[in-house]
């Protein structure tokens, strides 16, 4: 079975994610692949994503923790650092990754990104432009999308 030689670190991280989950975040491994996690992040309060439930997938590659986990939004979201395929522009998922970081730190960083979009380092050029030219309107669109696509259920 693929999960039999799972590194101790992954087992420990998984146990802790399940026993003491971070507020507003849940992550549980898939039954047939312990390296694949189903993730849910609640839209942070006072953000355009408030009230939304965002589904993500997270995968730990063979090289983990020397290589970063792969994370992607499954729920459609209007955000300058997330593109329409759900890919996330976040430094710790790329060149700033360190093996001392964990799944938990990654998910907390993504949650923080929802509270503080950064249109100066965009992944989605159009949304970033919208954000910079008319933030109020862009926030409205983000709220709209949250209602449309992330209303739970």
């Amino acid at each position: 079975m693929a999960n039999s030689n799972l590194p101790r670190r992954i087992i420990k991280e998984t146990q802790r994610l399940l026993s003491e989950p971070a507020p507003g975040i849940s992550a549980s491994p898939s039954e047939d692949n312990m390296r694949y996690f189903n993730v849910m992040i609640l839209g942070p309060t006072q953000s355009p994503y408030e009230g939304g439930v965002f589904k993500l997938e997270l995968f730990l590659p063979e090289e983990y923790p020397m290589a970063a986990p792969k994370v992607r939004f499954l729920t459609k979201i209007y955000h300058p650092n997330i593109d329409k395929l759900g890919r996330i522009c976040l430094d710790i998922l790329k060149d700033k990754w360190s093996p001392a970081l964990q799944i938990r730190t990654v998910l907390l960083s993504i949650q923080a990104l929802l509270s503080a979009p950064n249109p100066d380092d965009p992944l989605s050029e159009n949304i970033a432009k919208h954000w910079k030219s008319n933030e109020a309107e862009a926030v409205e669109t983000a709220k709209e999308w949250t209602r449309l696509y992330a209303s739970g259920a």
Binding site: R8, M66, S98
Partner: protein
Amino acid sequence: MDSEDDMHDANDVDSYEEDYYSGDAMYSDDDDDAGYEFLHNDSDDSDDVLISRQQKNFTILKEDDIRQRQEDDITRICSVLSVSRDSACMLLRRYNWNVSNVHEAWFANEDKVRKAVGLLDKTTYKPTKARELPCGICFESYLLDKISTAACGHPFCNTCWTAYISTSINDGPGCLTLRCPIPSCGAAVGVDMVNMLTSDEDKTKYQRYLLRSYIEDNRKTKWCPAPGCDCAIEFDLGSGSYDVTCHCSYSFCWNCTEEAHRPVDCETVSKWIMKNSAESENMNWILANSKPCPKCKRPIEKNQGCMHMTCNPPCKYEFCWLCLGQWSDHGERTGGFYACNRYESAKQEGAYDESERRREMAKNSLERYTHYYERWATNQSSRQKALADLHQMQTVHLAKLSEKQCQPETQLKFIIEAWLQIVECRRVLKWTYAYGYYLPEQELAKRQFFEYLQGEAEAGLERLHQCAEKELNTYLNEDGSQDEFNNFRTKLAGLTSVTRNYFENLVRALENGLADVDAHGASSKTSSSKNAAGTSKAKGTKGKGSIRGRTDDSTGWSCDQCTYMNSKNATSCQMCHNSR
């Protein structure tokens, strides 16, 4: 009219370094008179390099030299700052290996520098009393001897360290600024930990990056771009010409690292290279090595460096590879002007409607480019061929010839010099075609002057190349008499120096932007008889002044035997003593 004498006429070589070819100087072992010296590469003396004796403004560094310099710089920082070698290395890298910048920054604000580089004071780290510590990466607990830390003291097991450092090394040169895995920590991980914790293979890679950094991050050094060459060149910034020549004999421009391109500037070179890659599909056919003979239409292969082609018997038609014109039209005996270098756009006569004119223009612009590109590319391959021939000459033929002619090899240096000159001239000539392509068409006077100089240089080079290539062959294959060989020596040496002179004129004129044209209104002197005869559509050409053609008795005469241009009052050839 009197300004005629001011012009740098390529034929005007009467006073050119008399003693260079008139005395025994050129056959002596003393190279001083030649203005060139041979450098012997200690590994293989076939790698003789022609180094111009103008003040050398660069230094060639071999791998050992580089290591030694790096070592010296590290040692200097160690002793002045009283830091470890490991720290000195990181400090130098941070300040682009500039020793005085490290000193300055360190003594201005040591704390700031320490922070920027990640050098913590060891004293901040309090050793633990525990027997075991958990590794921050794999989460297992280990006895202390299986745990390592950077200066910060964050514990990771040796296995995780090895994987961490190795991942970074295999990611690229970023490994030189590696920090503790704890993102907020920032303690540097330097060469000591690399040496302690990684495989030999990774250590070698790390050392390689360190060496590369020493050259690549330093403003004054660059790698030699020749494939397989490990040398670097240190250049004295602000010291004029960027052309440098490496131990491997490759010449390149230190500024843009393209191959040496005097007399053309870097900007033109990069424009030209971009143009070539944009047009590469259209130009493939030019690189083909055979063309149909213009007379009998059978394909004939170009297997020599000079442009003078002779079709196979029975045809034996002699023609020019570049323009496919009859070779005799290119010769000096026609009194003609070597005009194969000049681009003449197709005549546009009669009424054109707009679309036809557009099509014609598009065709012309490609045609025009093709003209220059073909000449550029052909000189390039001709140069490659000459390099190979030079090598062959140095490694095989010279010894053979020395035996056949019973002369020591030192007496045959003139042959090597001829080949070195050919190689260099092919390079210059090649770039003059990029120059010509970008010379604005409306600057008529400049164009004509340029084409005149280029044509002269090219004709001279063809004579030299042909002499070194074909005539020399006869002495290699059969035993010519001593006398004949001595005549050959005189001719080849003469052509070498004449050609060098032509090219010096050309380079000088192009490097100062053909300024002489503005100064003297040289257009009148550059309009050749051929020009006046109407092949050029030049509108404003004055066309009256006479150029110092080779048959123009008023200014000089061309030797029948060696083609040297003698002054008008000489009764026998200065070069070969053949009487007029």
